[in-house]
Amino acid sequence: MSALDHPQVESSLEGFLRQVRPRLKSLFAHFRIPPQDTEDILQQALLALIYHREAIRDEEAWLLGTLRNKCLLYWREQRRKLYDSVDATVLEVMADPVAPAQEGDDRHRDLTLALERLPERCRSLLWLRYRQGYDPPELAERLGYSPASISKVTTRCLAALTRQLIGAGVCRRKAG
């Protein structure tokens, strides 16, 4: 079917897209989403909009609210990759059997220093993880968390550790 078969539907949607276009660009710029990563975010939100158009009362508010949320999720996902790589690296480093004794001691000292600057809850969780090799279900049981919440708590603690070890916050994109 050609788009011309529904000129009214198309023109109303087209008008709406034209109207929100500057705001979409501003929103992506505000959240510093790289252009190449905006495509999926925008397409998913707009598909949801056209499928649920009848239930949505204020389309612009809905679209901007949805995109704001998706941008935050985008950064959360990016940060998770970072935390996961820090986690995997710490596990790897602490378990490295070929490290010379002095180097091994230094690593333990560095990690201990970093852990000591974390809140008590994170300190005990990460200590069990890195020094005693507990996996998430064991951590949940030992520390009294539900299996569903241990992943969130671990992510929060890893975030705190990453901040200690590397820096704080999310990336500031360079222009260009």
Partner: protein, 459 residues
């Protein structure tokens, strides 16, 4: 520590989480080893997350000109083109979905499942959407049909692939809603075990996290009704708070109003009259009477009732006076009956007994004509209250006998029949007071949703 420092670009990609896992680990190891120089570089790439919490300044951003703008333009052009193409096909897809729905429901029940499971033609997103809608529409008219259509919706959703729904989100949203509506149909049919199973499934899908916010809010709203049914009022209120937060985030004020209206009902059922009235007033501020007149009327109706229940009869009367045009505007018989009933209730509160009697009598008879015997029984109990105040014991006794006989003919719900027996005996002995009438009426209102009010089938 590795002596080879990563390039600044690689550090930036690392902070963005955009490198492959081995490169990510390599840089993490380098930074963890304490390379001050590289740590200083990464420091410049970071800024606090809180910067995103502030709303974007659109006016300033629109005039700004940064290097990404052209990049955004290219992406927006591409996405808009695809969306416009999809949008223009949507009306046709909806009409195909409706045709398939009609065709499916005309088949014998046992063949419907076979068709959905085996026929490629019935693998259609819009058919699934229409089935969800159909289940929801049938809920109050014919709960058994709502369950059957709800089951078909779940099956139709299970047959679909991600690509047929425009991505993970589309499919996850559809299947989650299908399960939630099936749970809702079970809830209304008082099949509590099946409702629990269906809502568990919907909740599990919701927790997987790929459902759009608007769909999540819809499912949460159904889930809250289920928690209310289970008398888990605190949880129901918390779930509605989550839905309300989503609508707020999305700027959907009217839907936020609807959610507050739902939460007000929970407060009412939990006996928190003040909380109920507060929420109803907030809901009324948010619901647009032009865009959603029925919802606005429902909120006003509930507020008048709540005011009356709280003994603030004059306020209820004043609000009823201002709301009457809305009932008349709605114009359908049920809304006009609700108006007349409320007029009776408020007149009773104002001790205008003759007016109350006329209203209750009219409402009872109309419900009987419509075959809505449960509502007729409730109106009859209100009428009995009038007769008690008028000192007409014979009429009280007659109303009690009639109501009891109606319930006995349906042979359902022992608790209600037992209460009506007590009332009937008390009336016969001229000992039925207003308090007893109120207790029986409250019990019938509470148990109404568990009531299968159809003529008893021979066993």
């Amino acid at each position: 520590m590795s002596l080879r420092h990563p390039k600044p670009d690689a550090l930036e990609q690392f902070v963005l989480g955009r490198l492959g896992s081995s490169e990510m680990r390599e840089i993490a190891r380098h930074l963890l080893a304490g390379c001050r120089r590289c740590q200083d570089v990464t420091e410049t790439l970071w800024e606090p997350v809180e910067a995103f919490e502030a709303p974007p300044d659109f006016a300033a951003a629109e005039t700004a000109n940064d290097a990404h703008r052209d990049g955004y333009d290219i992406v927006l052009d591409r996405v808009f083109e695809r969306i416009l193409a999809t949008g223009s096909q949507l009306a046709e897809q909806r009409s195909v979905g409706r045709r398939l729905y009609e065709e499916l429901l005309q088949c014998p029940a046992e063949r419907r499942h076979l068709l959905l499971a085996n026929s490629q033609r019935f693998r259609n997103r819009m058919l699934c959407e229409r089935l969800i809608e159909g289940s929801s529409e049938a809920c109050f008219e014919d709960p058994r049909r709502a369950i059957e259509i709800g089951r078909l919706a779940v099956l139709a959703g299970d047959q679909l692939a991600v690509g047929e729904c425009g991505g993970d989100e589309g499919l996850a949203g559809l299947t989650t809603r299908a399960w939630a509506h099936l749970g809702n149909a079970f809830r209304i049919s008082v099949d509590l075990a099946s409702a629990e199973t269906a809502f568990d499934k919907a909740e599990a899908l919701l927790n997987e996290g790929s459902v759009t916010l608007i769909e999540k809010a819809k499912v949460l709203s159904l889930l809250a009704s289920w928690r209310k049914e289970q008398q888990r009022f605190g949880e129901a209120a918390q779930i509605l708070d989550r839905a309300a937060a989503i609508y707020k985030k999305l700027g959907q004020w009217s839907l936020l109003g609807r959610t507050l209206l739902q939460k007000a009902l929970i407060c009412g059922e939990a006996g928190d009259g003040e909380g109920e009235m507060k929420l109803l007033r907030q809901a009324l501020d948010l619901i647009d009477p032009q865009a959603d007149p029925r919802l606005f009327l429902a909120a006003r109706h509930n507020l008048i009732n709540a005011l009356n229940e709280a003994g603030r009869v004059r306020e209820a009367f004043a609000l009823l006076y201002h709301t009457r045009p809305l009932y008349l505007q709605a114009g359908d018989r049920m809304n006009l009956l609700k108006l007349r009933w409320l007029e009776g209730v408020v007149a009773f509160g104002l001790k205008r007994i003759d007016q109350a009697e006329a209203a209750f009598r009219e409402v009872r008879d109309s419900f009987r004509d419509l075959g809505l015997d449960y509502d007729a029984a409730l109106a009859a109990l209100d009428l009995a209250g009038v007769y008690i105040l008028q000192g007409r014991p014979a009429d009280v006794s007659r109303v009690a006998e009639e109501t009891l006989a109606t319930f006995q003919s349906y042979n359902t719900h022992r608790e209600a029949i037992a209460a009506l027996l007590v009332f009937s005996n008390a009336a016969r002995m001229n000992q039925a007071g207003l308090e007893l009438v109120r207790e029986v009426s409250d019990l019938l209102k509470r148990t109404r949703k568990h009531f299968n009010f159809h003529p008893a089938q021979p066993s």
